[in-house]
Subunit: 386 residues, 2 copies
Amino acid sequence: MRSSKKMMKPNIESSVVQQIRLLQGVSRVELARQLSIAPSTVGIHVDRLVDQGYLRNGERPESTAGRPPTLIELNPEAGQFIGIDLDSRQVYGASVDFAQRLLRDRTVSVKSNESAEGVLKIIEEVINDVKDRSRNLLGIGIAVPGTVDGAKGMALHYRYIRGWQNLPLAERLQDRFGVPVSLENNIRAMAMAERWFGQGKTVDDYLCLGIRSGIGSGMVLGGELFRGPHNFAGEIGAWPCRSACGTESKTLEEVASLRAMLRQLTKSVRAGNATSLTLRRNRVTIDAMLAAAEENDPLVKKVLREAAVAVGRAVAQMTLLIDPEMIIVAGPIANTNDAFLAPLRDTIEHLLPPMHAQMPKVVVSELGDLVGALGAAALAVHAWQP
Amino acid sequence: MRSSKKMMKPNIESSVVQQIRLLQGVSRVELARQLSIAPSTVGIHVDRLVDQGYLRNGERPESTAGRPPTLIELNPEAGQFIGIDLDSRQVYGASVDFAQRLLRDRTVSVKSNESAEGVLKIIEEVINDVKDRSRNLLGIGIAVPGTVDGAKGMALHYRYIRGWQNLPLAERLQDRFGVPVSLENNIRAMAMAERWFGQGKTVDDYLCLGIRSGIGSGMVLGGELFRGPHNFAGEIGAWPCRSACGTESKTLEEVASLRAMLRQLTKSVRAGNATSLTLRRNRVTIDAMLAAAEENDPLVKKVLREAAVAVGRAVAQMTLLIDPEMIIVAGPIANTNDAFLAPLRDTIEHLLPPMHAQMPKVVVSELGDLVGALGAAALAVHAWQP
DNA sequence: GATTATTATTTCGATATCGAAATATGTCAA
DNA sequence: TTGACATATTTCGATATCGAAATAATAATC
């Protein structure tokens, strides 16, 4: 059945544009096939969208039998989308054109103990900053940490920014900039970034795993972002892990988040273990860890491996449950040159029973620091209608 | 986007009938609201379906303000669906009328070491047996153990029936009985039974947990059965569990399946632990265990509690990932009078972080032994089109 | 008892979509 | 070069759906 309330009329024109975004360079007939719609109907809408300047006819009629298809493509000039990503320390902004190519980006530091209102001001500033004056603004997406209610456009709670509670963020920005504003949790925004900009374009079921200060995940199931009925889907920070052998069980975040890894490294360095790491303000920094990993530092490799085993165990469990085609790992750890990824893959593969599960492709996000901002833009892209 | 290939045109008339099945006693306007369709359009289709004898106008115009709605209901006489469920020991069959009320059921034992062909013969016999001669047969559903390819209607593999490999089951039965045949894994069929007959009618996201010889689960997400891209979703038998303290990790099935529990009970009884249980052919039977649980036998309660803790841990993890509204537990264990359910609930609740998860309702299936057969019938109901 | 308010359903013209046939545009082989 | 063939797109009449207004049926109120 159609799932009642939630589902809104799936406007054909926006489906057409979305399909082109995913496949880029499709013919009318191919669109008709993908969307289960009559070719004549597709023709009507494509023509209209071309007239309106959103699409245009591409060049290369490739060589096969029969009349060559007219490839349709996005018109980059048709407008722009802006995405904002933030945490307690930084605000990232990016603008992309209608064909989803990056136009501008900007990163601004947030001074510690900044208030919610102060952060909002910075967000507005960054939006103005990355906005391309020559293009029509079509939508804004915001990726925020903590809990959100996307449908109402409210940021519900985030403990690391003072006063960040029940903010009607979407409404405020909508009034300010006069365009639709989409709001989402930032790990789910990352999953959207992968769908519209990254490796999730042609995969309909995948899990995006974000390992930063905390650990969270975003899911795309059947081609759509899955939020869960209470908006908690993917909040795996508290995933019970097997601790070495203690009676108390630890959570995934306590075992494998960046924070946890750095804490353990700091402890080990202080204890005088063999390593090339040095302390800075009495702590190990992320950059130091990444650099050491690059140089095969034994201590760092060991810590990364332990984290990978814990994460791998959890990922194996998730794979048993939802059977994803792909796992996309995002976060600084992506740059550790297989010190994390290899043991992760091994652990997963080792735990999956051959006949009742399929090993998912495990890859690293290629979108870099802007992944959150791009994801936010992706939200706006996804929500846009002609 | 619409998820391309998989999605077929969602025929309005079948959506209407399905919505009525879920809500029973709905007006035209309410249907229009639920399905996001114009009331006038709903009217056209309802009238047509009434003409064709599938639906009929109900009686009771309840009392509120305004013109009272005309409640639409299913016409039980419109036909029947048949569902078959099987494992290596038994074949269950059930027929239901168009309003989903049970007509007949039959259970046949399969002699051990029966061949696939023999089981097929029994299936055909049971179908003929539960078929109501006075009603038009509209569809058949088959719930089989092991791996399946529902789209192709093939039973792929099941180790406990000789020769049960790559059987084109749907095709064969379709030829034999001349109606559409739906095939599915039997735990997923149970999830469908809950959706169409049981407690999943008004819940769009839930997990159905089957604890029998093995352990498996079926998921309904966003109102639809979720199979996963490789058809492995929910195959959680191999879920890594924390074993007491050993180095090797055990699987959920090795810790909490009926088979595992009985094995452990048998061992304990032989070791002379205090219990009212007695051995039968040198083993503890399921019925003996259930009876002892009813009488608060301490050994049985302990074993059930340990299993519940293991399952609860896994369910908590699953809840973190997919955020279901409800967990439905099916299997003989459902009759153990909270000896299993209470510690299960406690374990889950204890592991869920208050701000990032919502405790799902944990209930027991009320459909009894026929749950699989009803689920199979539900598959046929779900697949049916006017 | 008549009137008003309220919700459900039907009516009916405008628009959207479909589906089959016609047309367009290429390759390939004789 | 010409004539099959294959595939893409458009044309056009039939059908489906929408949306607003009209109509129907009841409770509440005067």
